[in-house]
């Protein structure tokens, strides 16, 4: 990937609410053509950060730079807002037709119908809602309404687009098809984007960079695989879906790997640690394999534990299996495997995961 120029930078950004800092961002840089996801739990300050980045709220302190120019006056903020677009969690459509909604931003810019007609049609087509053109926007389904809202934003051909939890009020199938389309459109239009979400899967799919936020701060920024596999602390790890967190002590260490004692079981992990270190081992549920029957099969997985299934919950495309192996362990297993291996609560199985699949954080 080529290094792109920064398009938007925030420095020492602080937002106070009732004298309490709700956002404190020392530094954030968004490069051109980059898709950045801000992930974190509700109340982490993601939406506040977006509002500050779009100059829709006045930060208590700090500066925003757009293409290297500091935004100082109301007029700067106004001209900057004419170059961006924003989509909120609620579609916030106007009580008129879909066409007029998508044209709204262009009409605000004083364009005449023959000037914006083409752009509106193109945007409607992009989001697959051309058939809704003359429908009333207040009678749309959730997915159609959010598509209209996105089409309205993209019709402006913004230099940067901000999306605040754009999918969180949609049902899963609608959501997934809209994410597909957004991913394609972002790639086609090469638009710089900042997306907030509390769904790490969504973030993984859409973004080049992920920033994990909690309590108004950015805890970690990196490419998706880095965040997913090397979370810097417990908070990030828990948030990015490392469901199993096992506290233990290092009892032996080898060259490049070490053994952690977890509730009397020995878990092997890759890395360096000294015996006596207290650590937390994180295991991603998708990295856990379940086998039934004898445990004599040869495998390269270094961690194998006999255990009992305690709970099986369907989770759409896969099942979430809770195991008791002397310590609790969570595995994601495809629906077909659950059926073939007849995985039901109470069944004795063997769970295995690779030493390289264990992420260790020192306490």
């Amino acid at each position: 990937m080529t290094i792109e120029r920064p398009i938007l930078e925030a420095r020492n950004l602080q937002v106070l609410r009732g004298g309490v800092p709700v956002l404190a961002i020392p530094e954030l840089t968004i490069n051109e053509r980059q898709v950045l996801s801000l992930i974190g739990p509700n109340g982490a300050g993601k939406s506040t950060l977006l509002l500050a980045l779009t100059c829709l709220i006045q930060p208590s302190m700090g500066n925003i730079f757009f293409r290297g120019q500091r935004i100082t006056s109301h007029h700067d903020a106004f001209s900057y807002r004419r170059k961006l677009a924003m989509v909120f969690q609620e579609p916030l459509l106007f009580d008129t037709t879909v066409f007029e909604n998508v044209a709204a931003g262009l009409k605000i810019r004083g364009m005449k119908k023959h000037e914006y007609c083409h752009a509106v049609e193109k945007s409607l087509d992009r989001f697959g809602i051309s058939h809704l053109t003359s429908r009333s926007a207040v009678k749309l389904s959730g997915g159609e309404a959010q598509r209209t809202s996105l089409a309205r934003a993209f019709a402006l051909e913004p230099e940067i687009i901000f999306l605040d939890e754009p999918f969180s009020s949609l049902d899963p199938p609608t959501r997934s098809s809209l994410i597909d389309d957004l991913e394609r459109i972002l790639r086609e239009t090469k638009t710089t984007a900042v997306i907030t979400t509390h769904d790490q899967m969504e973030a993984m799919r859409l973004s080049d960079q992920i920033a994990v936020m909690d309590r108004g701060k950015i805890l970690q920024t990196g490419i998706p695989s880095e965040i997913m596999n090397n979370p810097v602390d417990e908070c990030v790890a828990a948030f990015v879906g490392m469901e199993t967190a096992l506290a233990g002590d290092v009892i032996r260490s080898y060259d490049g790997s070490f053994i952690v004692s977890v509730s009397g079981r020995e878990v092997e992990a890759v890395g360096t640690a000294a015996p006596g270190d207290s650590v937390i081992c994180f295991v991603r549920p998708e990295n856990v394999t379940i086998t039934t029957g004898g445990s004599g099969d040869a495998t390269s997985a270094r961690n194998r534990f006999p255990g009992k299934i305690t709970r099986v919950t369907p989770a759409g495309l896969f099942h979430k299996i809770h195991l008791d192996c002397g310590f609790p362990l969570v595995a994601y297993i495809t629906n077909i495997s659950v059926e073939n291996l007849s995985l039901v609560p109470g069944k004795d199985v063997t769970a295995s995961f690779k030493a390289t699949g264990v992420h260790v954080i020192k306490k």
Partner: protein, 232 residues
Amino acid sequence: MDIIIEGIKQAFILIFTLDPEVMGITWLSLKISGTATIISMVLGVSTGTAVALTRFPGRRIVISLINTGMGLPPVVVGLFVTVFLWRNGPLGFLEILYTPASIILAQAVIATPIVMGISLAAMQNLPPGLRLQILALGATRIQMVWMLIKEARLPLLSAIMAGFGGVISEVGASIMVGGNIKGYTRVLTTATVMETGKGNFDIAMALGIILLVLAFIINSILTYVQQRERPR
């Protein structure tokens, strides 16, 4: 019983023969209350919108005052407007007491809080994020306010009609500040009061029926507008 049937018969004859006096009174009522409604619309919608969209100290008190004003008794308004317009009152120099202008003034005082209160509620009922969305679309502040008003157009229309309905049927203030002068400040309500007092039930009923029909038309439009609104 005869008196009622005879009255109704006479009333319809007066209406359908387009009796000049009855028509004159009706037309004057519409002119006066219409003008008062237009004044209250300008003041009420703008102030209601401003209060809904801004935050300032004492805002809650202002909102309670507006809501209280929605129920101002017309006779109290009539009393105060009379006192103000009295020859040596603070606005006595205008010399408009007992003219149509004074009725317009009194009715505007009655209708403005009604329009303002409903407009305020209408603007507050818009989704809170809508302002930010409009600004994010690149709107100036003026464009933003205009788009919000357009969004709330149906409840704002109800506000204006509620204001009109309030003043066309009001009698206390009109009689006090207008004086019920024949052919000059005599409106539907004041004429009905007088004719009833004189025992001319036929004319009183004709005026009453016209008033009812006007109220019915206004309420039908209001109901239609409100029912058209989507359930939320």
